[in-house]
């Protein structure tokens, strides 16, 4: 039964290759996307920290999104 599952009655090469190509490609894209997101979050935090307290407060007051990014990025890192 297991050998049937692996060989897929002679179509194993095509079936397993198809599933492998799909899942490996999807995994590569997922990890690359995640790495880019983390890189941008890190750069965002670094730039925010480089601002003076006055500038930082101004940026936080001006944008709700900045507050949200700061909150979620702090959790991630």
């Amino acid at each position: 039964m297991i050998s049937n599952f692996i060989t897929m009655n002679g179509y194993g090469l095509y079936v397993w290759l198809s599933f492998s190509v799909v899942f490996i490609s999807c995994a590569v894209v997922y990890f690359r996307t995640k790495r880019t997101l983390e890189k941008y979050e890190q750069e965002f935090l670094t730039e925010l920290q480089a601002l003076t307290i006055e500038e930082k407060n101004k940026a936080l007051e001006a944008s709700k999104v900045v507050q949200q990014i700061l909150a979620t990025s702090s959790k991630v890192n």
Binding site: S18, F44, A59, I69, T72
Partner: protein, 235 residues
């Protein structure tokens, strides 16, 4: 209505959706793979090669759906000038390209045991290659052009021209004599696929949709952070 699409409304939603998809994804993936590789029956003609359908068909559908969304949002952006639609499109395009390429590759792997050839320049296959090229051109506009206004204009034009290819892909198997089989699943009318194969196909479609949504949300979130970061520099 379009105020809903502001970053401040969308950003908290993105975070919640990413968490939700991450929490259910692997469970649904395990169910989908069990159905696709173990529980679903082999086809009476194609044997176990039919299992390739469970990755090929959802890939092709998502590749087409992504370009349809890109076209729709490009048209809306032209009319209503909502910049956010451009950022959504920018995040969708790589997903569409990925799934179009996967549909072509898995289609080729399915073609060898069923048609006896890896590739044929028939209408369906060629129109899918054209779709892939439009995705490549669309993505290249972001990489090669500098001014944002110009990028929005050129990419929208590429999307609208490329959308002409969408009905060609859909109806190619009816308009021309092709190696590719006609549609087995129809939204209107009865489908010619058995429920024992339909269920795994739908579960795998859900898996692929969740994955596509996850990548989209991560890319869109990156895009929002990039814009906000750029605003710091301006100040």
């Amino acid at each position: 209505m379009f105020k809903f699409f502001s970053f401040s409304n969308i950003y908290p939603l993105i975070q919640k959706l990413i968490k939700f998809i991450n929490s259910i994804f692997f469970l649904i993936l395990a169910i989908g793979l069990t159905f696709a590789l173990v529980l679903s029956p082999p086809d009476y003609l194609q044997g176990d090669a039919v299992r390739i359908m469970y990755v090929h068909v959802p890939s092709a559908w998502i590749g087409l759906a992504c370009f349809s969304v890109i076209t729709l949002l490009s048209v809306l952006n032209f009319i209503f000038k909502i910049k956010n639609f451009f950022f959504i499109n920018k995040s969708i395009a790589p997903i569409g390209l990925l799934f179009t390429c996967l549909a072509i590759i898995t289609g080729s792997l399915w073609g060898q045991p069923t048609w006896g050839t890896w590739w044929a320049w028939d209408a369906r296959l060629t129109s899918m290659i054209v779709l892939m090229l439009f995705y490549v051109i669309y993505i290249l506009t972001f990489k090669l052009l500098n001014k944002e206004e110009l990028i929005i204009k050129v990419s929208s034009i590429v999307a609208i021209i490329g959308s002409i290819n969408l009905p060609i892909i859909k109806y190619s198997v009816e308009w021309w004599s092709t190696l590719h089989q006609p549609a087995s699943i129809k939204i209107t009318g009865s489908s010619s696929i058995h429920s024992e194969m339909m269920l795994p196909l739908m579960v795998m479609l859900l898996v692929f949709l969740l994955y596509a949504a996850l990548i989209f949300l991560m890319k869109y979130k990156t895009e929002i952070i990039r814009i906000k970061k750029k605003n710091f520099k301006r100040k």
